[in-house]
Amino acid sequence: MTTAEATPLPASARSRSTGLTRGLGGLTRAEARRWLPWRTAGFIVLGLGLLAALYANWLIQPAKTLTELLYPFFGLWFALLILATVAMTQGMVASEISQGTAAWVVSKPVARPAFILSKFAALVPIVVVAMVGIPGLAARWVFSIAESEGQTEFNAGDLVRLLEEPLARNDYMPLMDFDVHLGILALMIFLILVAAAAMVLLGCLLRHATAILVAGLMVPIALVVLANVGLDQQVVSLTPAWAMDSMLDGIAGNPVSVLGPSIVATLWTVGLLGLASWWFNRREL
């Protein structure tokens, strides 16, 4: 019997869902369940912990304004997030391939790209909410405290008042308005997603965890170098380094460009994931 003559499949297996949608749904849910309880909490604690540490530093050394101390928060926090992303995603694909569980999963009625895309799809809400959203908005609130206090002396007894007053007054620091703050957060999200997509691709291309980790660490370093090496802006604007450049501008208190860099970073993310899916689709397991 030829393919064209093939009769309908038995009723028990007929379904409107395809191997891609069903696989993506099932695998993403399964993957997200792994992330949700502890890793998500870990990222929230990481961000809030860093924020609390900087705040505590200001309590001890009130000579500087809180704003001066909190600006580095974005840079430090972003570096930590990138490192955490690289560390936590380095085995996401490669270990499943080497342990044989990838072969087990794709022997089920799922399309191979679903396996790759589910790894990424499960990460997106964690990045948006836990890694960037919650600590980022908490930072916004602490900035508003800084604005309310200015350079005045501070003692720990004022803490409760400081926690309450900015919320009541709803006033913000003039050096970084709310749009800039959100823009930095958005760029941070897109850059982390680029890094995660690059890690997924590296997991498909390389076999050894150490090689993936080293190559993964080169990604943010390359972005920083590209953003600062003095390349023509037109060249930079073709890469995710544009988002990095723009984010660094925002952190320095300059106007931040969000839309263009976000689109470029998104295109890179899609391209890297497409390449990873294509490669994995061809791979023998």
Binding site: P10, G19, A30, A111
Partner: protein, 316 residues
């Protein structure tokens, strides 16, 4: 609707310059229990992995229920439950969670409670009910094999492909697996590879043998066991050298093997195709120094057939 659950046509696979599958033609009827035999490295696992899409064929075609797997990979696999030779599972899931995870990847919606009950029934059937809540990283090889069988069955597939399902099991586990396969007779097509010829003889109704990447025998088990009916077993008393020499010189005799057992000789005489069987007994009796204690067509076991077919193929 096609009567074949699985069909391969001139399936080929090479790894670099090593040709593993030369031309594999299989036609596995629906609802058959199909044993797949062959020596190590013959291409059994490679055939199964290629059918499952884990390896890319170098040539030929594969159809599952009449559908080309290159075009309809995932939807073809929706009919298949697969147990790999060395099953691997996500170590962070329990045995029950593993079954529910697999079930979620198959099309069709089942009530969660019903699915959980089904998973527990399967765990019970493979002897893992006590380990339902244990994470899979703690399972022994035999337990993994049992869980592998359960996950292959969880979606109630119409075609079950089992790569050495009893290889890591103790006799009790092997018995359980055969019972499960036997219980699927008439409802599910089972295509399984094994080295244990006794198991094949017990449950299979069709057998394919592969050697050096080619199918060298394929058909109903009864046909293979009926064997070469021109092979005869004779037990004689007395001196046999002269008769043996005379018989061996006959052009219609392929081979004569004689083994000594206590006070008698046991002969296995294979006759060439189209040989005049009626001449065999008179030829032996022509020498009146011999007394015939037994004379009957040889019994064939699957092992005889396997050794004859695969051994013959390896010689060439």
């Amino acid at each position: 609707m096609t009567d074949l659950a699985l069909q391969t046509h001139e399936l080929r696979k090479h790894f670099g310059s090593t040709q593993v599958l030369r031309s594999v033609d299989l036609a596995i009827p629906r609802h058959s229990i199909y044993g797949f035999l062959g020596p190590n490295g013959a291409g059994k696992s490679t055939t199964m992995k290629t059918v499952m899409g884990l390896l890319r064929p170098s040539g030929g075609s594969i159809e599952v229920f009449g559908r080309d797997t290159r075009r309809y990979g995932p939807s073809a696999r929706a009919h298949i439950g697969y147990l790999p030779q060395h099953p691997r599972f996500h170590p962070y899931r329990t045995c029950r969670q593993t079954l529910l995870f697999v079930a979620a990847l198959y099309p069709g919606h089942r009530d969660r409670r019903e699915l959980r009950d089904h998973a527990d029934e399967l765990l019970d059937a493979v002897g893992l009910s006590d380990l339902a809540n244990r994470r899979t990283h703690g399972l022994s090889g035999g337990e993994s094999q049992r869980l592998g069988l359960a996950q292959a069955l969880i979606a109630e597939p119409e075609l079950l492909i089992l790569d050495e399902p009893a290889a890591a099991l103790d006799p009790e586990g092997r018995h359980d697996v055969l019972e499960i396969i036997e219980g699927l007779r008439g409802r599910t097509t089972v295509f399984y590879s094994t080295h244990i010829l006794e198991d094949v003889q017990r449950v299979s109704d069709r057998v394919a043998m592969i050697s050096n990447g080619r199918i060298v025998a394929d058909g109903p088990l009864t046909d293979l066991l009926s064997g070469d009916d021109s092979s005869w077993t004779i037990r004689t008393l007395g001196s046999s050298e002269a008769v043996q020499a005379r018989l061996s010189s006959e052009p219609w005799v392929s081979s004569v093997d004689v083994s000594r057992r206590r006070d008698s000789d046991v002969w296995t005489v294979r006759l060439a195709a189209g040989a005049p069987e009626e001449q065999l007994l008179p030829t032996i009796l022509a020498d009146n120094q011999l007394a015939i204690a037994e004379f009957h067509p040889s019994d064939h076991t699957l092992e005889d057939a396997y050794l004859a077919i695969v051994g013959h193929n390896n010689e060439h």
